[in-house]
Amino acid sequence: MTHLDEGALQELLDGEMPAGRSGPAEAHLAGCSACAAQLSELRAGGERMSALLGAGDVAAPMLRAQAAFHRRRRGAHPLARTGRGLSRAAAVMIAIGGAAVAAAAFPGSPVRQWVRETLLTEQEPAAPAPAPVVQAPAPPPEAAPTGVSILPDDGQVRVVVSGAGPELRVRARLSPSPQAAVRATGAAAGTARFRTAPGRIEVLNAGAGQVEVDLPAGAESAFLEVNGRVYAAKEGQALRALTPAVGGTADQPVFRAGP
């Protein structure tokens, strides 16, 4: 295989390389010191840039912004415009009704004749209109699973899921593959972002849905960390759950990513 270009290496780092290309690319990386060195350089540059950009961050003014948004929403609520529209429509209807009543009061008036023929004649009540058929909205297309895999670094591997909401489920298991792999499915496939570092996969911004974590059984040590807590660790040849699972099986526990 030829060397990996800069774009491919960046895709690997960001977990954006399609599954069909990432396997061969990582196999090449494992045996090519030049590409591995370039990957390390890109990773270091990205981490340095992230740290620099974050140096000036300030906390978002959530409470003030939420209050302002509530005020603007009330001001922009369509009900207010509808209300003004109804007032004008009501005034027009009252004027027309008044004129009709006045016209109907005159004997021989065509309006009086129309009122007698249509409003004062008993008629068969019309059959109720059939209820409109409402098409159920089509479910949104589910995003294709996304993921990333790495080889352990010096026998160590750690998968870190950060900022996960309580609705996220994380399934862990030991895998015969030499690589650690993470796959986001369901809603998480559309939101999760991946970062890799030597022996480490970070999963950021996973909302609802599920994250599937395969830890290599051959690694010397392997951990799954969620929101700052170790949820599972490789112990001997088995996976040990360090927090209560909410589903799955003993060797493939499913955790809730609660705080």
């Binding site: 270009d5 800069e6 774009g7 491919a8 290496l9 960046q10 895709e11 960001d14 954006e16 890109l42 540059g45 990205g46 340095r48 840039m49 992230s50 620099l52 950009l53 140096a55 000036g56 961050d57 300030v58 978002a60 003014p61 959530m62 003030r64 912004a65 939420q66 302002a68 948004f69 603007r72 929403r73 922009a76 369509p78 949104p140 996304t146 559309g190 939101t191 972002r193 950021l204 911004n205 909302g207």
Partner: protein
């Protein structure tokens, strides 16, 4: 629950989920808290009544916010003033005080962001907020397959300008 209150709940949830990220993005882009707050607020107000699903709404908000930032001459002037107010001079390093050093770093970061091409800046900041390549590609109008290469170059360019090795702009 009425349809209206459901929509209100959706807006509340969306605001809670997206606002911190949008504010951080805009703060990095403008270098100014007030501008970031104003543009983020205006973006959410423009979203009202559009009925976009949450996953589309996030990208829509960032796109609108970026356009508001770009189109606002007043904001641009303020940004340029902020970006050039504290140019980095290696010979005039302040005393080794942590807070002062942080301010110095922040000023240099803003200066570097202001000097790299707008597309690079936008791609880097969007990637930092967790957008995927195909989303970044849609907003900056490039081929999805080129995003990796462009991001790698943009990162290198930003760091080179930050380190004073490259003059851009």
């Amino acid at each position: 629950m009425t349809a209206g209150s459901h929509a209100d709940a959706d807006y509340d949830a969306l605001f809670r989920d997206v606002y911190p990220s949008l504010f951080r993005y805009l703060h990095r882009l403008t270098g100014d808290t007030d501008s970031a707050e104003d543009i983020a607020q205006e973006s959410f107000v423009r979203l009202l009544g559009r009925g976009l699903p949450a996953d589309e709404a996030r990208l829509w908000l960032f796109t609108v916010a970026t356009n508001l930032f770009r189109d606002s001459a007043r904001t641009r002037k303020r940004r340029e003033r902020l970006l050039t107010a504290t140019p980095w001079k290696p010979a005039a390093l302040p005393a080794p005080n942590e807070a002062v050093e942080r301010e110095h770093t922040v000023a240099r970061v803003r200066e570097a962001l202001g000097k790299i091409p707008e597309r690079d800046r936008q791609m880097l900041l969007m990637r930092e907020e967790g957008f995927k390549y195909d989303e970044i590609a849609r907003v900056v109008a490039v081929a999805p397959g080129s995003v990796g290469t462009l991001l790698a170059r943009a990162t290198r360019r930003f760091l080179a300008v930050y380190d004073g090795e490259l003059e851009e702009g």
